[in-house]
């Protein structure tokens, strides 16, 4: 049984989404959370370009992917600046130690 290129890219999309979700569920470090989000969005972006390729609308897929890249970068910037400020205020990057209501 041979796997064609489309199936391989679909496997990559599923793999990237799975790894990103796993990272979001497992990690407690704020910067690692941003890394997991980046991986997750990469999977979505490849899926958009693949869908455009399959439906013979490559340019539409590309224009959507541009928006995804910009949004992803801004999410990274804001997430990292939040992480830096959290580190300055609380002295740690651990998500669990950010809860101030429950002790």
């Amino acid at each position: 049984m041979s796997i064609n290129a489309v199936d391989l890219v679909v496997i990559l999309v599923l793999g990237l989404l799975g790894v990103g979700f796993y990272g979001l569920l497992i990690t407690r470090n704020l910067i690692k959370v941003v890394v997991a989000l980046q991986i997750l969005v990469k999977g979505a972006m490849v899926a958009l370009v693949l869908a455009g390729n399959l439906s013979h609308q490559t340019n539409l897929g590309q224009s959507l992917a541009v928006t995804v890249i910009v949004a992803d970068t801004i999410v990274a910037v804001i997430g990292l600046s939040l992480a830096v400020q959290v580190r300055r205020h609380f002295g740690t990057l651990d998500i669990k130690s950010l809860t101030t209501l429950r002790r």
Binding site: D7, L8, G18, R28, L60, L64, A65, T67, L80, K96
Partner: protein, 163 residues
Amino acid sequence: MDFALIVLGCLICAVFAIRTQRLLISALWLAGASALTALLLYLLGAPEIAVIELSVGAGLVTVLFVFAINIAGEEIPIKQSIMPKPLAWLLIAAAVLLLGIMVLGPQLSRVLTGSEPGFAAILWNDRLLDVALQVVLIFAGVLGVLGLLSDVKKISKDGNNEH
């Protein structure tokens, strides 16, 4: 064969980006995943996106990560996870299985035909709202960079701000 190698390398980079304990190494694995994704996008016939992904995803975002890790500093790795790992694996397996059934099950039934406008025409004419949204997002990103660079102001007992 090319696709198989790139897909395998990209998945390995993504897994190591999550599993590595040191943040700086994790950022470098993420840059590798971005570069391989850009190569794959080029092979899929999307060269404009490949260039943007390579310069932004593998370049700018990596620089941002290194900058932020330098400011925040490396932390002792936390071994405990948010939820039990078997439960996380179960949820991931269920989500990926459902997505796989949705994507791989029925083939794409409606294939559009006809000539397609160029990338610039679609972006500037049809997706103008997206472009406006990107401008707003870039302003938000500038504010985020200011937050990244700003110092903490300590409030003294008499109410004055101190640096």
